[in-house]
């Protein structure tokens, strides 16, 4: 009998009962304030609430956003369905595709493997923050080097390249080839992604 696999979307496979039994995820849930208050900080010791939706405050792309989430709501689901930030994509059940990559407190992370409530008090940066009127050098280099085809993996890749180059601003092509294996593409844009990353290192201009 094959087991029923969990979601490969933005969902979690934490049942409410298991959740309340105090899984690792439940530890994060203790951040939730009781009653109708908004959860503010991740280290606040308070009584467990849930399993229903509770408003929490998230810092996304420099803005404070209040949104109702269940303890078991993933960050990806919250971003996509509560905040309409759909750049991060649901592709895998774990972090093996990189398609849902965001930057949390300066570090890349898959939004589908972290609960929204675990992100209270942290700075979340999504791919959308790299766009707009003055786009970041990475998406501009992706455009110039056509580092996209269907584009479904592209936002995750843009975030991965941004995070990688923030850490390794002078990366060589060899380091780029070795250091960007977190993200998966099916159309075959890797060659173009490498060119784009090399261009940014060489001083790709902000758009």
């Amino acid at each position: 009998m094959a087991d029923q696999r969990p979601f490969s979307g933005g969902g979690s496979n934490v049942s409410r009962r298991a959740f309340l039994k105090g899984s690792g995820a439940a530890a994060a849930a203790t951040a939730l304030a009781t009653g109708s208050g908004v959860a503010e900080a991740a280290d606040e010791k308070s009584k467990l609430v849930g399993p229903g939706a509770t408003p929490i405050k998230l810092n996304v792309n420099g803005r404070e956003r209040v949104l109702p989430v269940e303890p078991r709501t993933t960050l990806l689901e919250a971003l996509r369905y509560k905040l309409n930030l759909t750049g991060a994509k649901p592709v895998s059940v774990d972090d093996s595709s990189g398609a849902s990559m965001v930057i949390i407190n300066g570090k890349p992370a898959s939004a589908n493997t972290v609960f929204a409530i675990a992100c209270v008090g942290k700075k979340i940066q999504t791919v959308e923050s790299l766009g707009g009127d003055k786009p970041d050098a990475v998406p501009v280099a992706f455009l110039h080097n056509d580092a996209m085809q269907c584009g479904f993996c592209t936002p995750g890749f843009v975030v991965a390249v941004r995070a990688f180059l923030d850490k390794n601003p002078k990366a060589t092509e060899k380091q780029i080839r070795e250091g960007l294996n977190s993200n998966l593409c099916r159309c075959g844009t890797y060659a173009n992604v490498i060119m784009a990353a090399v261009e940014v290192v060489k001083g790709g201009k902000r758009g």
């Binding site: 490969s8 766009g131 992706f142 060659a191």
Partner: protein, 734 residues
């Protein structure tokens, strides 16, 4: 007599043929582009399906009551009924819609289904086992011989004797077994739809390669007519041939949405996506091939088998042997039915298998004779099936230069070793059609100068949107940014489904025709205004002017103001009839690979991959090259990494998750060099499709390079480390 429709003379175009950034590139790169998975109408429910856990069974009962008791679940709907037979694992049985992902997951777990187990067969590589299990279909046979059988002869017996004689007279005979496993499409955006009702009309945001052809497929099972359905697909996250149809789970989403009065998004889970939403048929072959001492093949005799999964079928004999058609050939094909999801068109159906099962045997001739593979391929070019001998020859020369083939070549297995690492070269060639299919484009010119191109096409990531804009802007002498392209709705003029690499020819034909017709109408108004003949006018650099007399001109905006109050709308139509020379069909293509193989670990690493490809007239070389890079990488993927692994006893697809279904990563691809072959002869043919051809040859190319490195053939793709080590061990025993 000038043709009614034509492309600019070579070297005179302002935009066509130059590299352009894709017009939707920034939207994709910054997460703004909205895919089917991203569309979220107000009050939308999320839905998922329950896949059957058994590869072959009968449904005894389905109990949904537990699911609807789960908090947050709004609706559960059965997709099978008692007594239904299920023929592959993952086939959807029921769907659950709810307020959140997790609620839906709980709901699915609460569904109770009773099954009756039935016999299971999934060993498509094992012909004897398939025959014993009575899973083979009627074999197809095809024999072509130079010598005709006498009138009174038994044809089969004559063919047996004739082939035996030809093999006996050959200077070299290769007897080989080769194959290529089933792989899946693995679209990163799974199959699915977001369905929203507006009274009795349905808006279906469908992830599809077939915007113009799917409304009716939704309508019929819902008791509607096609006009009641609008299919919308602005962006699609991968299709590769698996997204032409409306699936039962798409219809279920619409049914649930209707019943609960709320929009429903039903996308497949990753594992269900891999188990049910498309795969590429397998192919395995036993072949005897005879050649003269120069490596020219005189006789081919083969039997191949494989599976389409739960529908009976197999790789077409027409691609055996592939591209090369020796004068004497006999092919037998045996279809096998298995308990696995039915295959769907996978980028160049039949061809990758044909190439991987046959061009390896040609290379083994080179190996056996100690000849350079390049020479063997070259000497067999006179037998190509598509009259592209000269194209292949020219492309081979270019590829060899890019690869530095002559300097790097060594006989099979005779290269220098660095410790346990050996390197090798391989090549293969391919062919494809890529002609246009019926397409319609509306060009709208507004009195303020705004220009729109509207058609029911879709952009799979190939750059279709940008091509339509380029063709339109070129025709009117405008910058690319001046054109608005509307695609992705079934309410737009019908355009071809994106399969068979037909899109570029289809949309270029209908768009150029519409634009040239529209320009003639604008020119008539301008001619009247300027007091000149309309046929002296040209549209270039944002102006319509008398050719050679720039003073007699109107800006595009002033020209359009002559339209008066109403916009001008002109429809361009392409019907595959009298070819006006805007498009053509049939391409060649040559590929070469350099690999290194570690004999201790069995790991194959790509060093360099070279492809040279003709595709007629190239509209946007930048996106064309991207498709070529992509095809190389996808080819590396099925040559070295990806395979569907089935448990032979239970028929369960064991590696149906991203982490387990191995695809190459950015560090696995080595150096890739792509070269467009576009001499005048090809430019003058007009546009020809590119999507599929470059993905055909990599399997044979890489297999041949590995064989050249090792001196041993690793017979079946993908060439996993275990298979490499097994082949080496077997060779040592001989």
């Amino acid at each position: 007599m000038a043709k009614k429709y034509s492309w600019p003379e070579r070297g005179t175009a302002s935009l066509i043929g130059k590299p352009h950034d894709r017009i939707d590139g920034m939207a994709k790169a910054t997460g703004v582009a909205k895919y089917t998975y991203d569309v979220a109408p107000e009050r939308m429910l999320l839905a998922r399906v329950l896949g059957c856990p058994h590869a072959h069974c009968k449904i005894k009962s389905i109990d949904l009551s537990g699911a609807e008791k789960v908090p947050g679940v709004v609706k559960a709907m059965a997709m099978k009924v008692e007594g239904n037979e299920v023929r592959w694992e993952g086939d959807p049985i029921a769907a659950v819609a709810g307020e959140s992902e997790a609620a839906v997951a709980e709901g699915l777990k609460a569904i109770k289904v009773e099954y009756e187990a039935l016999d299971i067969f999934v060993k498509d590589e094992d012909l004897a086992a398939a025959e014993a299990a009575k899973r083979t279909g009627k074999p197809a046979k095809n024999t072509q011989l130079e010598k005709e059988a006498p009138d009174d002869a038994d044809e089969e017996k004559f063919a047996d004797e004739e082939i035996a004689r030809l093999l006996k007279e050959s200077d070299v005979v290769v007897e080989g077994h080769y194959g290529i496993d089933v792989i899946t499409h693995m679209c990163l955006e799974p199959h699915g739809a977001t369905c929203q009702w507006d009274g009795d009309k349905l808006n279906a945001y469908l992830s599809t390669q077939n915007v113009s052809g799917t409304a009716g497929q939704f309508a019929t099972p819902l008791g509607l007519t096609a006009g009641d359905v609008t299919v919308i697909c602005d962006f699609i996250g991968g299709g590769f041939g698996s997204k032409f149809q409306v699936d039962n789970f798409n219809v279920t989403a619409a049914k649930i949405a209707k019943e609960v009065g709320r929009p429903v998004k039903l996308m497949l889970d990753r594992d269900i996506e891999l188990k049910t939403a498309g795969c590429r048929p397998s192919g395995y072959i036993n072949v005897k091939i005879g050649a003269d001492k120069n490596g020219v093949v005189k006789v081919w005799d083969s039997e191949h088998w494989g599976t389409f999964g739960a529908t009976l079928g197999g790789v077409d004999q027409g691609v055996i042997p592939y591209v090369f058609n020796p004068k004497n050939r006999r092919r037998r094909a045996i279809p096998i039915i298995t308990n696995a999801s039915p295959s769907r068109a996978w980028r160049a159906p039949n061809h990758p298998q044909g190439s991987a099962m046959t061009q390896v045997a040609y290379d083994d001739i080179a190996g056996k004779l100690g000849l350079d593979s390049y020479d063997v391929f070259l000497r067999n070019l006179p037998t190509v099936s598509n009259e592209k001998q000269e194209i292949y020859k020219a492309e081979m020369e270019i590829a060899a230069k890019l690869m530095d083939w002559k300097a790097k070549w060594h006989a099979h297995g005779k290269g220098p070793a660095k410790g346990s690492v050996v390197s090798g070269l391989g090549m293969a060639i391919h062919t494809w059609g890529g002609g246009g299919q019926p397409s319609n484009t509306n060009i709208t010119i507004h009195p303020d100068g705004a220009v729109e191109a509207t058609l029911g096409s879709q952009d799979l990531g190939t750059g279709t949107r940008t091509v339509i804009a380029l063709v339109t802007a070129e025709t009117f002498g405008l910058p690319l940014s001046a054109v608005k392209v509307n695609i992705g709705s079934s309410k737009y003029p019908p355009s071809a489904a994106s399969g068979g690499s037909v899109t570029i020819a289809s949309v270029s034909e209908s768009t150029r025709r519409a634009a040239q017709d529209a320009l003639r109408q604008v020119n008539d108004l301008v001619a009247k205004k300027l007091g000149v003949e309309a046929d002296t006018l040209v549209a270039k650099d944002g102006k319509i002017s008398v050719e050679g007399d720039a003073k007699k001109s109107l800006s595009w905006k002033d020209a359009c103001s002559l339209l008066g109050m109403m916009p001008l709308e002109v429809k361009g139509e392409f019907k595959r009839r009298d070819d006006q020379g805007l498009s053509s069909s049939q391409v060649g293509g040559v590929q070469m690979a350099e690999v290194e193989v570690d004999k201790d670990t069995g790991v194959v690493r790509m060093r360099k991959f070279v492809m040279v490809q003709d595709m007629g007239l190239v509209i946007n070389p930048k996106t064309a090259k991207s498709q070529m890079y992509g095809a190389a990488i996808m080819g590396i993927s099925y040559a070295l990494f990806e395979q569907r692994i089935m448990d032979p006893t239970t028929g369960v697809f064991l590696n149906a998750e991203i982490a387990d279904y191995k695809l190459p990563r950015l560090g696995d691809i080595g150096e890739i060099v792509v070269e467009i072959y576009e001499p005048d002869s090809e430019y003058n043919r007009g546009v020809v499709g590119l999507g599929e051809p470059p993905v055909i040859s990599p399997g044979a190319t890489i297999s041949n390079a590995v064989c050249n490195a090792l001196g041993v053939r690793v017979p079946v793709l993908p060439l996993t480390p275990k298979r490499v080590l097994d082949a080496l061990a077997k060779a040592r025993k001989v």
